[in-house]
């Protein structure tokens, strides 16, 4: 089916998230939420697990033109079930009209998505709940000062995985949330990036034609957590895709397609070198072993994809 969103200029102009939030300047997650809510349009209810995005609505102020529901880290998909059921019952009993139905959006960070809230998400996908899930993946517990989450990449420095004589930052690999979600065979699961807004708009549009779980994992550069200047957020998100570290893909009923493929990938160190959380791989001495290992991991991934 043809897309309404040929170029960036087709972006919906109505803002669903107005200015005045307490999020950091240059927050990648804030940009993702803004674009996502624009695409869903008026009449989406956002169910927000505790995380950075808790700071969107701080009593008595909210940037949302529609409803926002705040819930504990583990429980957002369960709350989404309750909201969806309530809407269905209200429609059944003719208390609201079918055209006044609301879209249900779960909004969590990677801590809730990959860790604390994974069980409730698995349940909601298993039950075929009709909802959107936007996981903004800033690869750490940014809201509390950037401790490691299950989504923090290998060799990255966080508050709980500082580089020491014993380890070069995190010794664990980033959890593959896309594959975990995909294993449930939901109608739609995709990765998105704030540097590829066109790709993101197409994916949200495509998901909008489906019923059931519609799941998105968004690469979300975090200026204080990653140690980057706020103006470099889009550049670094773009580099993540161009180096192949952040593959842009979708899976429809479990069937994977890569939506952006760079035939000639930049070396991963171009991405790593932009961020303070990987600085120990370059200073005081270059850590050839770790950099080569990270390049190898990325190459292995893409060799399997492009085979």
């Amino acid at each position: 089916m043809a897309s309404r969103y040929g170029t960036l200029r087709d972006i919906p102009l109505e803002e669903e998230v107005v200015p005045g939030t307490m999020l950091c300047a240059g927050c990648g997650g804030a940009l993702l939420v803004r674009i996502f809510e624009k695409m869903l349009g008026p009449g989406a209810i956002t169910i927000n697990a505790a995380g950075c995005m808790s700071l969107l609505s701080v009593f008595p102020y909210t940037p949302f033109k529609s409803s926002w529901f705040y819930i504990a880290m583990a429980s957002a998909p369960a709350a989404a079930q309750g909201v969806r059921d309530a809407l269905d019952i209200l429609i059944d009993r003719k208390r609201i009209e079918r055209e006044d139905d609301l879209k249900v959006l779960v909004l969590t960070g990677d801590g809730a998505a990959s860790g604390i809230g994974l069980q409730a998400t698995s349940g909601a996908i298993h039950r075929g709940l009709d909802f959107y899930y936007l996981a903004y993946d800033n690869e750490g517990y940014s809201n509390t000062g950037f401790q490691a989450s299950e989504s923090s990449p290998f060799a990255s420095s966080t508050k709980t995985t500082p580089p020491t004589d014993l380890a070069e930052g995190s010794i664990l690999q980033k959890k593959d949330l896309f594959e975990i979600w995909r294993a449930h065979k939901p109608p739609y699961v995709a990765t998105i990036s704030p540097a590829y807004i066109g790709d993101m708009m197409h994916k949200i549009e495509k998901a909008g034609r489906m019923s059931g779980p519609k799941l998105f994992i968004a690469h979300s550069p975090c200026p204080p957590g990653w140690g980057i200047d706020s103006d470099k957020v889009i550049r670094i998100a773009r580099l993540a895709v161009e180096t192949g570290i952040w593959p842009l893909k979708e899976a429809i009923n479990g069937e994977v397609t890569h939506t952006i493929i760079h035939k000639k990938r930049r070396p991963v160190e171009e991405y790593l070198g932009t961020q303070e959380r990987f600085a120990h791989l370059f200073r005081p001495a270059r850590n050839e072993r770790i950099i080569r290992q990270m390049q190898q991991n990325t190459d292995d991934y893409w060799n399997a994809v492009l085979k």
């Binding site: 200015p19 999020l23 008595p60 103006d231």
Partner: protein, 296 residues
């Protein structure tokens, strides 16, 4: 007990300042608590941190309501009507503030009767306000005001700054900065002790219906009403002669700060702009420049 309340902006190193002051006081043999106000630390957003120093064990917990010493790292904080740190003090609270204003100008501008100590870090380095080293300078000024020996400050800084993985050279530079600020701050004011809690009571918590005991916001899209003060010293200016109306600045703005005029040119809402500068970096024809905001 001496209660110190520190106010600054996220990214200035105010949390570290509270740890440096606390550790220096601890090394002098006092009981100490030091902590930031946890939960909403954001780069550029107003933040606070607290230090309690006592010769006896400290039974109080939580934030400090009646500081003996109010420390303000950045006088732009006084521009915010909602979070003005001068609103939350007693008459005898000593105010230690980084400002270019003189004592008498400050007192008349904000009708203050409090004892004031002013120091001007812009004299050292005009850009210090946007760097994490500001916290170091604030810690040194505070320790001077509390009449702590500089050697304690030095020991405390080595301990705290190695704890956040600063290397030896950076620590040495920080100590050098601290020493210069310590020597610069002069004061004739004495920070008064306040009495702490010596006994605890039991408070009965009554049940309230969640409809009244939880926070509900019934307004929509009202966040522009929040007084946020200045987030950044810079703001983007568009050269309309060369602008191609490509919309890139609008698309990539995380804060919905861009709108369009009737001819389709982008317009910045400066009250909404946090100065992240993404628009300048991404502008394909480079028509956005950053200029220093006028101080109001």
């Amino acid at each position: 007990m001496i209660n110190v309340s520190l106010h600054g902006r996220g990214g200035q190193g105010i949390k570290t300042a509270s740890h440096i002051i606390g550790t220096a006081a601890f090394l002098s043999g006092s009981y100490v608590q030091d902590q930031p106000l946890y939960g909403a630390e954001r780069r550029g957003a107003p933040i606070s941190a607290y230090v309690r120093i006592s010769r006896q064990p400290i039974l109080e917990r939580g934030t400090i309501e009646n500081p003996s010493l109010q420390v303000i790292s950045d006088d732009s904080l006084l521009e915010s009507a909602a979070d003005n740190p001068l609103e939350k003090i007693r008459e005898s609270t000593v105010v230690l503030i980084n400002t270019s204003l003189t004592k008498s100008d400050l007192a008349s501008k904000y009708s203050l009767k409090n004892p004031l100590i002013v120091f001007d870090l812009a004299k050292f380095d005009p850009e210090i306000i946007s760097r994490p080293t500001l916290g170091i300078a604030v810690a040194a000024a505070t320790c001077r005001t509390l009449e702590m020996d500089f050697d304690l400050v030095r020991q405390s800084m080595i301990k705290e700054l190695s704890g956040i993985h600063l290397d030896k050279d950076d620590i040495a530079m920080s100590i050098d900065l601290a020493k210069r600020v310590y020597d610069m701050v002069t004061h004739g004011e004495t920070v008064m002790e306040v009495s702490g809690i010596r006994e605890s009571g039991i408070f009965e918590m009554k049940f309230h219906n969640p409809a009244v005991s939880t926070c509900s916001i019934t307004a929509t899209g009202n966040s522009m009403l929040r007084e946020r003060g200045r987030w950044s010293g810079f703001q983007p200016i568009i050269d309309y002669e060369r602008c191609t109306k490509c919309m890139i600045c609008y698309v990539y703005c995380p804060d919905s700060a861009y709108t369009f005029d009737s001819k389709g040119y982008p317009v910045v809402n400066y009250d909404a702009c946090k100065g992240c500068n993404i628009c300048q970096t991404e502008c394909p024809v480079k028509v956005i420049t950053l200029v220093k905001r006028n101080k109001t």
